[in-house]
Amino acid sequence: MDFSLSPEVVEFRDEIRSIVREFVTPEIADRMHTTGVFDAPELNLELGRRGILERACPGLGKGDPIEMYVMFNELEKAGAPYDGLAVALMIAAVVNKLGTDEQKERIIPSIISGEALVCMGYSEADFGSDVASIKTRAVKDGDEWVINGSKMWTTLAQVAEWLILLTRTDLDLPKHKGLTMFILPMSTPGITVEPVHTLGTEITNATWYDDVRVGDEAVLGGENNGWRTMTTVLAFERGVMGGTNAGVPLLRHFHEWAEANGVFDEPTTRERMARSVIDMQVATLLTMRSAWIAASGGMPGLEGSMTKVFAVEAYQRASRWTQATAGPAGLLQFHEEGAAGEGFVEYDARHSPVMSIYGGTTEINRNNIAERHLGLPKSR
């Protein structure tokens, strides 16, 4: 095996690092925690201006999965708010693959320039893991579609320009077959956004759709083909767009605090720290493997599930022990005097639980591994 990045990728990585140094400032981190929006427009614009988003987008530019892995890994390790970027790039790739020429021209430039974000409306109040059962309806009315229903957890809806929306268009077909995906501007009349505050500071949303009218230009990937569009989205994510190395900045913040407070000489602390460093290394290797499979023409869906299960729990372990080791100082929040890791230790203990929930829960991923990798019978 060869674990070295090609000279070209090293150059790409170094460029990302220099952008990160300039744009991922403590002020940006502060802002994400006060606004609840995990996105940095100035960072996106810079990446867009330099052509990096186009270069990294699957199907456009170079579309090298190794570069995509490197980019999101660097952003994540630096603690940059990259969630908005990840969704936007993923959707740009889907539009590029499944969209009409008209859609590509209308939508993609706004995304790869770093200007526009996309929010995803799949989950509903009553359907999360069983997302294929969603009820939001789209009904044909002459040349138009009329959409009615509501979505839950529509993250970034308060700032996004585009919405990708999963709807039910045929009640008679089996649940996976009667779905249609739309992509429409958030400014379309009839959409209401209400904030949902979370444990991890991030503000997501509940969204409502009342007689929202769009034409066929908003259908993405074909009528009743919504499930295929969903799986295409997931295939592009491939588990390489971040979410697998969140413990790295935490360990850095914790270490600074522990050194300064004489805790770092404790054997227990050093042992735990060494163990978490191993976990983070394994998590990044598993992520790199998905990227490598994709780069070799494969579809690392299952490997993505495996990576997520491991990486998420590794982060949660790190969060648990760092906070416990810090004791009372691990309870103090950002800007409080004496807060462990400048408040990140406390913050990560609030943020880490979500990682085993969104984007497919750990149980759903384990079901996948058991059935598709181990070949066990469908569970009961």
């Binding site: 095996m1 060869d2 674990f3 070295s4 990045l5 090609s6 000279p7 990728v9 190794i66 890994n73 390790k77 190395n245 790295v248 360990l251 850095r252 270490h255 770092f264 000489d265 054997p267 050093r270 042992e271 720290m273 060494a274 163990r275 460093v277 191993i278 983070m280 290394q281 394994v282 998590a283 990044t284 290797l285 598993l286 790199m288 493997r289 990227a291 490598w292 780069a295 070799s296 490997e303 495996m306 990576t307 299960v309 491991f310 149980e363 991923n365 384990r366 079901n367 591994i369 058991a370 059935e371 990798h373 181990l374 070949g375 066990l376 019978p377 469908k378 569970s379 009961r380």
Partner: protein, 341 residues
């Protein structure tokens, strides 16, 4: 030079050859029959015929010149089969030993993984019960001692041929300073890690096969989600351990002055990676054997079933160096610098 996380065609053939060899010549019954000593001379003779003992040695010394990545592939097959032959220890010792009878495998070499005590005693040396040559640290020197193996040792959890050996009695050669031994120990950790990945992999296979067959309540027990989820963690740990082990091999073979930048998760230092691989693979093997044994129900506890042999070796092979806390703390020193005072 660019990312390639697959086995090379050569390595695929090596894996196939050795997996085939061990499943023909060393099914679990062979390991069972070799207990408690954990050594089968006939099998070792066949390993010699394969040319395996000198695989990693330089061609000018009569060896095969295989890369560490190749040896990792071989070590994993040893773990998968729990074959009662000291190939892992022998290959590690031969990172610096070049004697012709060692390269051929006629004589067996062992690695004294912990330094000798004040009286020159290497305690509980893995393969010490059967090795003709032992390499290790005595005082501030790396020494090689040739002496008659006891061919017996304390009965132990992993049915391993371990024994105390003297660092002073026998034909003793001083190779150089104690730091020279680092290369040997790094390779020992690496190959032991690979063997533990093999144990984990075999335990997973045994567990999965069992739960597909065994029925309770009229259905295979493998259809229960609690059982599925316990098993689903195993391939993740196995793949993670395999990747980390191969990264360590790659770094030891190709990287000088590797990075120890843990704060950015940029680690290419071979010795650190070898220790990381050992700790991780040990956990993977322990977890895989725990769960696989458990999902066998009562039969897993019965001596007659093979999983208990893997269960014991997972612990034996991973604890023989030292307790994991001590090993983790040595890793911490390398990663974070040692504690002053």
């Amino acid at each position: 030079m660019s990312v390639d996380l697959g086995l090379s065609p050569d390595q695929e053939s090596i894996a196939e050859l050795f997996d085939g060899f061990f499943s023909n010549e060393a099914p679990p019954a062979v390991a069972r029959a070799a207990e408690p000593l954990g050594f089968d001379r006939d099998l070792w003779n066949k390993v010699i015929e394969l040319g395996a003992p000198g695989m990693g040695s330089a061609p000018e010394n009569g060896g095969g010149g295989a890369s560490l990545g190749d040896l990792v592939v071989v070590a994993e097959t040893v773990g998968r089969s729990i074959a009662p032959v000291p190939l892992v220890d022998h290959l590690a010792a031969l990172s610096v030993l070049t004697d012709a009878d060692l390269v051929s495998g006629e004589a067996i070499a062992a690695v004294a993984v912990r330094p000798a005590d004040g009286n020159g005693l290497w305690s509980l040396v893995p393969t010490g019960a059967v090795a003709d040559v032992v390499i290790g640290v005595d005082g501030d020197e790396t020494v090689v001692v040739r002496s008659t193996p006891p061919m017996s040792g304390p009965r132990n959890h992993g049915s391993m041929p371990i024994a105390d050996r003297s660092a002073r009695e026998g034909t003793r050669t001083v190779l150089g300073s104690a730091s020279l031994f680092d290369t040997v120990l790094d390779r020992w950790k690496l190959l032991t890690a690979a063997a533990l990945v093999g144990i984990a992999d075999a335990a997973k296979e045994l567990g999965v096969a069992y739960v597909k067959e065994r029925e309770q309540f009229g259905v295979p027990v493998g259809s229960f989600q609690a059982v599925q989820h316990g098993l689903a963690d195993l391939p993740v740990a196995i793949d993670g351990g395999r990747l980390l082990t191969h990264k360590a091999a790659w770094a030891l073979d190709n990287v000088t002055d590797g990075l120890l930048d843990w704060a950015n998760n940029d680690i290419t230092d071979g010795p650190a990676l070898a220790t990381m691989a050992l700790l991780f693979a040990a956990d993977a093997a322990v977890m895989a054997t725990d769960r696989s044994l458990h999902y066998h129900g009562g039969y897993g506890f019965a001596e007659e079933y093979d999983i208990q042999m893997y269960y014991r070796r997972a612990r034996g092979w991973s604890l023989i160096l030292n307790d994991p806390t001590t090993v983790s703390l040595s890793l911490a020193d390398r990663l974070f610098g040692s504690v002053e005072g």
